[in-house]
């Protein structure tokens, strides 16, 4: 019964119902991103909406692959090897919630940082069309100013 309800929601929202295949595609996407494989771009909707905390440099409500990549480029300019490491994939109707830890090392200070995250992913026609990022951006930003521990 829940599946029927979710199915109706998905039709109304225009996003795909999350299936095992969608979960696997998301897992593959994270893996490609971590090894800097540009093939991950193939899995993105050209009109992707990407919402990250406003307090991050270049953050906010971003639209389209170009704005998303520009943001990632900004992040890569501040931290070495910034990467989301997913730990749990939680399907819920037309949304896939991914819980994990964002890891990076600040270029300015050498400080490594770990920030828990929740990503809410939505797919349209098999491609990632919406990402909402929930994380304590302040913790990540503090690493840019902190003195590395000895």
């Amino acid at each position: 019964m829940q599946g029927l309800v979710y199915g109706r929601i998905a039709v109304e929202s225009g996003f795909d119902v999350v299936t095992d295949e969608v979960v696997q595609r998301a897992k593959d996407g994270y893996a490609m991103f971590q090894r800097h494989d540009p093939a991950f771009l193939d899995g993105l909707d050209p009109e992707i909406e990407y919402r990250v905390p406003d307090t991050l440099p270049g953050g906010g409500h971003l639209r389209g692959q170009w704005e998303m990549l520009a943001f990632m480029d900004t992040v890569a300019g501040l931290w070495d090897d910034p990467r989301p490491e997913p730990e749990e994939f939680l399907p819920a109707g037309d949304k896939l919630i991914v819980l994990g830890t964002w890891r990076a090392t600040a270029k300015a200070t050498g400080v490594s940082v770990e920030v828990p995250f929740a990503h809410v992913l939505q797919h349209r026609d098999g491609r990632l069309a919406s990402v909402r990022v929930y994380m304590d951006a302040a913790k990540a930003l503090r690493s840019l100013e902190a003195t590395p521990s000895r």
Partner: protein, 138 residues
Amino acid sequence: VQSGFDAITDELVQKSREMYRMVREHDVAFLDNLDLALEYHLPRGLGGPVHGPWAVLEVMDAAVGLFEDPHPEPEEFLPSGDALIVLGTWHGKARSTGASVVAPFAHVQRFRGGKIADFRVYMDSAEILGPLQEAPSG
């Protein structure tokens, strides 16, 4: 069953909705729905992580000292296995500056024996704490 947490049912979703309502109405009866061994994973910048219902109450009391009418407004309840994900926005008005706060959050709740035993908060502490230091616009 494997995780030791309850599968999310309609009843647990309703219980979660009621808890948000009680928090909004400053009804401390919401504490009855928290497991005594609760792990409350709040960002460190917001006073976490803490353990047990009373520590949660202390965090909320601290928020009341800093903000007028601080409260989470849930918008979506998303059950998935033994996890209930709640998406919404946290609201408050900084007493020190008069600035309003509207900050998105994701809560992940897990229940044991019908009570919340694990509560994870994902939000940007800067969006909460920043308005305490900013001059109000206008």
